[in-house]
């Protein structure tokens, strides 16, 4: 199963990853982190993630720390 790991406390809420995901699996959550930002979350109920790592490549703040494929 393809998946990404988000370190919520590094997210600065620039939301660049949301536009980057070809399947639209990253969304703004209701939670705030210790920086006071509304963090992004990874929602993949239908196992659509391609493991393309485009979100992690785009993230300027190392908040998407790991991407797994398979």
């Amino acid at each position: 199963m393809n998946r990404i790991v988000i370190d919520e406390n590094k997210c600065k809420a620039c939301y660049l990853c949301i536009k980057e995901c070809p399947k639209g699996l990253i969304k703004v959550s209701e939670r705030t982190n210790n920086l006071g930002n509304k963090v992004v979350e990874f929602c993949d109920p239908d196992k659509q993630c391609l493991g393309c790592a485009m979100c992690a490549t785009r993230c300027p703040d190392l908040a998407i720390t790991e991407v797994y494929r398979g």
Binding site: K12, L16, N37, A56, R58, P60, Y68
Partner: protein, 251 residues
């Protein structure tokens, strides 16, 4: 069996938290440098000559030895480090104000001397850290805090095209301009950084990469709008490409 296709490189300090503004492409550029250092096995052997500007705290993020240089003098300091320790891999990471304004003489002469150094210059068309003043790379018509009516040729003159100027220096082995506006261009940027590092490792001369980056805070834009600006306004002026590569000419 799951395969990890992306990880934070070990050449970045564990739990490094960037101090850059939200959406600033400095973060991507630092990660690319870290990835290339790790892939080329240079982390243990590298010395960074740190600069002044938003890139000033780079030694807090990269797991390499570093010396802080006075404003603009990173390449002069790097020259000293490299000549004292030719076995080390020495590189600088500077902004456009540091590299092409106050440090233009040091940068240009390091290239002219053909120092075996690698330099990364982040071009965001403004002085980011001090509040968005007109910089050497500010494009024509751009409004900044010190050019409230936009840059015009009568009063402010023209912006400098750094990669082209460095390519004209005989000591330069590699000079390229890349952009971070899209994922495809981020991958190209990594290849360019790798090439600039390789020419130093092979002892061919000066390696340089100019990276077109964003400054959403001082441009007063969202991170997404800032990338659109890089694509629509900056890239037609500062055209990405390889301006000099002596490894290709030799073949």
């Amino acid at each position: 069996m799951s395969v990890q296709v992306f990880k934070i490189p070990n050449s970045l300090k564990k739990d490094a938290k960037y101090t850059f503004c939200p959406g600033c492409d400095h973060g991507v550029a630092v990660r690319l440098v870290a990835e290339v250092l790790e892939e080329m096995g240079l982390t243990e052997n590298a010395i960074l000559a740190a600069s002044i500007g938003c890139s000033v705290t780079l030694y807090d993020f990269l797991n390499v030895d570093a010396l802080e240089a006075p404003h603009g003098r990173a390449l002069a300091e790097a020259t000293g480090i490299k000549r004292a320790r030719p076995d080390k891999f020495v590189f600088t990471y500077q902004g456009d104000g540091d590299f092409a304004s106050i440090g233009l003489a040091e940068s240009m002469h390091a290239a002219l001397r053909g120092e075996k150094l690698s330099a990364i210059c982040i071009n965001n068309t403004t002085y980011g850290m001090t509040g968005g003043q007109l910089g050497p790379t500010t494009i024509m018509g751009q409004i900044t805090t010190t050019s409230p009516t936009g840059r015009n040729k009568e009063y402010y003159g023209y912006p400098i095209k750094i990669a082209e100027h460095i390519a004209l220096c005989d000591g330069t082995a590699y000079s390229a301009r890349v952009s971070l506006d899209s994922v495809a261009n981020i991958k190209k940027a990594k290849q360019a950084i790798k090439k600039a590092f390789e020419v130093q490792v092979k002892g061919l001369g000066f390696g340089f990469v100019e990276i077109l980056s964003t400054c959403p805070t001082n441009w007063r834009m969202t991170p997404e709008q800032a990338h659109e600006r890089v694509k629509n306004e900056m890239m037609p002026v500062f055209k990405p490409g390889v301006y000099k590569d002596i490894t290709v000419n030799n073949q």
